[in-house]
């Protein structure tokens, strides 16, 4: 790992912003830090950038602690949430700022500004005033400004948060292309799972100052490590049950499980873990109570023995009318996750 965070603690007054956070970023890797607002994501970036100091723990770069290095000597880039473009400088001077700080000769600075502007798709705008830019253009200028000094590590703090949905979807793809082409080592902070899953090699899910799970997007989606991660990813079919000897007893029946737990558990039925009709697996009979069309998928609410469960099906699947009976089948090793209930 190039960057290593070791057991970072940070509080502001009585609120604990970070409570023992550890993870690493390898060279050329993009790590997304995903979590709800207020989970400590932005604080984490401030600490890595050197704008704040942790109370406990260490931050290593290539094995060396950088805690005593001031922010301007760390050689990192940080793209702020609403960009923090310097209002008194034009676009070219904004992008050249970091280059001038590192005393790059003027001709090369000019050259690099031109290249970087072309890279972010705004060629020839050096002399424009930053006040005249649209939200998407500001985002590109901010990206260009943080990329121009060729930082060893680029940190992006909710860079698309202020933009509307269509623009966001286009820019995330562009951002992905640019970062991959540069083989840029990066930390990407967001509360949006789509952004994180699209962009990142690995995702760090955080909650209330702690790391809940670290893994590839697929690993996290397949096997959320904690109920929080599952809920944050929008999974809402919870049952209570009792696990014993590789089986779990729930109000809907008895299912085999892979987890070796016993005692009271929370059982999650994943929304994409069911198929329509009586097929292989465990059939459940119920009544379709509501469905909503979501583009490529249909979200369906099914009442099974008094439990409301929601599932997604491809929209090509033919569904009965609301109120009609419905049979679905669960594939237990795909659809069921079991979490031990922590007393208290």
């Amino acid at each position: 790992m190039t960057l290593n965070l070791l057991d970072i603690h940070k509080s502001f007054g009585s609120t604990r912003a970070l409570d023992g956070v550890s993870f690493g970023v390898a060279a050329g890797e993009i790590v997304a830090v995903l979590g709800p607002s207020g989970c400590g994501k932005s604080t984490l970036l401030s600490l890595v950038a050197g704008l704040e100091t942790p109370e406990q723990g260490d931050i290593l770069w290539d094995g060396q602690s950088i805690l005593s290095t001031p922010p301007h000597r760390r050689g990192f880039g940080l793209m702020f949430q609403d960009y923090a473009l310097f209002p008194h400088l034009n676009i070219g001077d904004n992008i050249a700022f970091g280059l001038r700080m590192s005393r790059l000769p003027a001709p090369e600075t000019r050259q690099r500004v031109t290249e970087t502007l072309a890279l972010v798709g705004l060629p020839g705008l050096e002399r424009r005033d930053v006040g005249t830019l649209s939200g998407g253009e500001q985002q590109r200028v901010a990206l260009a400004r943080s990329l121009a000094p060729r930082p060893r590590l680029l940190m992006l703090d909710e860079p698309l948060g202020a933009l509307d949905r269509t623009l966001r979807e286009r820019l995330i793809q562009e951002l992905n292309d640019i970062l991959r082409r540069l083989e840029q080592t990066a930390i990407y902070v967001t509360h949006d799972q789509e952004e994180a899953f699209t962009l990142a090699d690995r995702v760090v899910v955080m909650n209330a100052g702690r790391v809940e799970q670290i893994g590839t997007p697929l690993e996290i989606y397949r096997r959320p490590a904690t109920p929080f991660v599952a809920r944050f990813l929008g999974m809402s079919n919870w049952l209570t049950g009792t696990a014993e000897g590789g089986r779990v007893t729930t109000p809907l029946g008895i299912f085999p499980i892979q987890e070796s737990v016993s005692g009271p558990v929370s059982v999650l039925i994943k929304p994409d873990g069911a198929r329509l009709g009586e097929q292989s697996g465990y059939p459940l009979r119920g009544k379709l109570t509501a469905q909503s069309f979501r583009g490529g998928t249909n979200r369906v609410t099914v009442e099974v023995s008094g439990n409301m469960l929601s599932f997604t099906f491809p929209s090509t699947v033919q569904l009965p009318e609301a109120g009609q009976p419905l049979t679905i089948s669960l594939a237990p090793d795909e659809a069921l996750l079991v979490f031990p209930v922590i007393p208290g």
Binding site: R73, D82, P87, M101, P149
Partner: protein, 603 residues
């Protein structure tokens, strides 16, 4: 029948207002027609015409007409005689020096107050606001009580080292003038720059740091350029105030130093050379008007949004001993500079001094209220003599008159400005209202003497203002007017039509809207404006010194009289009166501070 025909054949009103239901909601926020705006402007503009422009025109007339050696003679004298050139040079020089020193003291303080939270901060803010409304004479007397020949420092040193003469010569030096000016105007820097600074996005600086800028580079390339308009506006305002400073230079500078303002007073009152006084006034007016125009331009630039954030988000706590140490140093400097002269004044006014027979000096011998008691005594039982305490009553009634007049004129003007700041009329008139701010008080007083020296014919009536005590509150209203308008306009503007509409939609009648929305929002601003007018009137000295009737002395005139008479008792009485004035003004400013709705002041 088509819809159009229905309209034309129906009730006449439907043709003129096709959507009558909308008019009901917007009825009381009528689109400002020029006619309505003009009617609001009528009273304030007539007042300015009669009591500002007419007196100034009279000065112009005198300076041109009364010169015996030709029209331009007073100007030639003012610009060619070496003594007058010295006066002009001194005025500019001391103002420039004072402004630089004020920035030097004020900027670190502005940074501290803008960017950090610490215990006692609100108290410090309130204390540092006090000098702004302190009457010049109180400031002068305060510094005298601290550093003058009979001040604390000299008394202490004489006692300590057995000296026969005061070792520190502070009175009648340039240092005294500069220090008093710094005392006076640091608040402006703290407020103007501090306010702007506290809203500046701290992430701009952080972005620079992450891009490789060290602390100095960040300050030099990011923070200072962004603060530049605020610093320039503060510096200009400070310069204008220093340029037209009167009481401080008259009392602390002594006979050796004369600024334009003091020279105008001397020429008009001492030497009765009205043409020269008028010519000097015109020169000074030209300078200050130019500066005021530049200032209003800059102030408008300040209001341009520039990635601002709520100040609560930009503040941090003081962490680390170096920061705390620096902060303590700044706080100590501000306290010593801003509080010690006032404290010295208050303590000195209740200290009795015994003449030390062994030496020339005197030593403090205990607490006494003798100076305060003497204020109400008429020592010779003379019928014509008014004891100093009568000045308190006179000042209070003048102040009450000023408050009434300034509000009566300021409210419609502020209302007109708030309704539509973009209208061409308002953009023209807004800087006009600020003109009295850039006009020196002595010039205003001189204008009153010249303009109302002989009876006026108004509406066929013979009005003799020269002998009327109304003249003083009129002059005070002129001085207070810009402050009143500036305090009221943002509050009135903050009542956006949306708020009224929201209330109306929820079922509030126009009267209820006025009572529940307008009044609570404006009420505090009215109190702030009234307090400004009140304290300004109480402390005003420059104009009052010229126009007041000898039998109706105000507090500041009485203080000056007592100060210029010899004797320990007179000095003590001037201290006592100054203390009373200081307490009233400080109470007023603290009240303003408490009333201040977030971001309300434009000063």
């Amino acid at each position: 029948m088509t819809e159009d025909q229905q309209h034309t054949t129906g009730d006449k009103r439907t043709t003129t207002s096709p959507r009558p239901h909308r008019l009901r909601f917007t009825g009381y926020v009528l689109r400002p027609t020029q006619y309505a705006a003009l009617s609001l402007w009528l009273a304030p503009l007539s007042f300015l015409a009669l009591f500002y422009f007419y007196p100034l025109a009279s000065i112009l007339g005198v300076s041109f007409a009364r010169g015996e050696q030709g029209i331009a003679a007073p100007f030639i004298e003012a610009l060619t005689s070496s003594s007058m050139r010295g006066v002009i040079g001194f005025t500019i020089g001391q103002a420039a020096l004072s402004t630089m020193l004020t920035l030097l003291v004020g900027l670190p303080g502005a940074y501290l107050l803008a960017r950090f939270d610490f215990r006692g901060k609100s108290l410090l803010q309130a204390l540092t606001a006090i000098p702004f409304v302190m009457p010049t004479l109180v400031v002068a007397v305060g510094f005298n009580a601290l550093l003058g020949p009979r001040g604390w420092l000299n008394l202490g040193l004489m006692d300590l080292f057995n000296l026969t003469a005061p070792p520190i010569r502070f009175a009648n030096t340039l240092t005294a003038i500069l220090v008093a000016h710094v005392f006076y105007n640091t608040t402006i820097v703290l407020r103007t720059v501090g306010d702007f600074w506290s809203h500046l996005d701290p992430r701009l600086g952080q972005a620079a740091q992450v891009l490789g800028a060290n602390r100095w580079q960040t300050l030099w390339r990011i923070t200072l350029p962004l603060l530049a308009p605020a610093i320039a506006a503060a510096a200009l305002l400070v310069f204008i105030f220093d340029f037209t400073s009167f009481g401080v230079i008259l009392v602390l500078g002594g006979p050796r130093f004369a600024s334009l303002e003091v020279e105008i007073y001397n020429q008009a009152v001492g030497l009765f050379n009205l043409p020269l006084a008028a010519a000097l006034s015109v020169i000074q007016l030209g300078c200050t008007l130019l500066l005021t125009v530049v200032y209003t331009r800059l102030a408008r630039k300040l209001s341009r949004p520039l990635s601002q954030r709520p100040s609560a988000q930009t503040r941090r706590r003081l962490i680390g001993w170096r920061r705390r140490f620096a902060a303590a140093g700044i706080v100590a400097l501000l306290l010593v500079l801003l509080v010690s002269p006032l404290a010295a004044l208050a303590v000195r006014s209740v200290t009795s001094l015994d003449v030390d027979s062994n030496r020339q000096g005197s030593v403090p011998s205990g607490l006494t209220l003798a100076f305060y008691r003497e204020l109400v005594v008429n020592p010779r039982q003379a019928v014509s003599y008014a004891p100093p305490s009568t000045a308190i009553a006179i000042s209070l009634s003048y102040a009450a008159g000023t408050v009434a007049l300034a509000l009566a004129l300021g409210l419609p003007a502020a209302w007109a400005l708030a309704r539509d700041s973009q209208s061409r009329l308002n953009r023209l008139l807004d800087p006009l209202l600020m003109l009295p701010l850039g006009t020196s008080a002595v010039t205003l007083g001189l204008g009153f003497i010249v303009g109302f020296g002989k009876p006026l014919m108004l509406f066929g009536e013979r009005v003799d203002l020269r002998t009327s005590p109304v003249l003083v509150p009129l002059a005070h209203t002129l001085v207070a007017f810009p402050f009143v308008v500036r305090s009221l306009t943002p509050a009135l503007r903050s009542i956006r039509p949306r708020l009224r509409q929201a209330a109306a939609v929820m079922g509030a009648s126009p009267w209820q809207v006025a009572r529940r929305i307008d009044l609570p929002l404006v009420g505090r601003a009215v109190i702030v404006a009234a307090t400004f007018a009140f304290t300004i009137s109480l402390g005003e000295f420059g104009a009052t010194a010229l126009i007041t009737r000898p039998e109706y002395p105000t507090l500041s005139v009485m203080i000056y009289r007592l100060l210029s008479q010899p004797g320990a008792l007179n000095y003590g009485q001037s201290l006592a009166l100054s203390t009373i004035l200081m307490l009233v003004c400080a109470a007023g400013m603290l009240a303003i501070e408490r009333m201040r709705i977030a971001e309300i002041g434009e000063f």
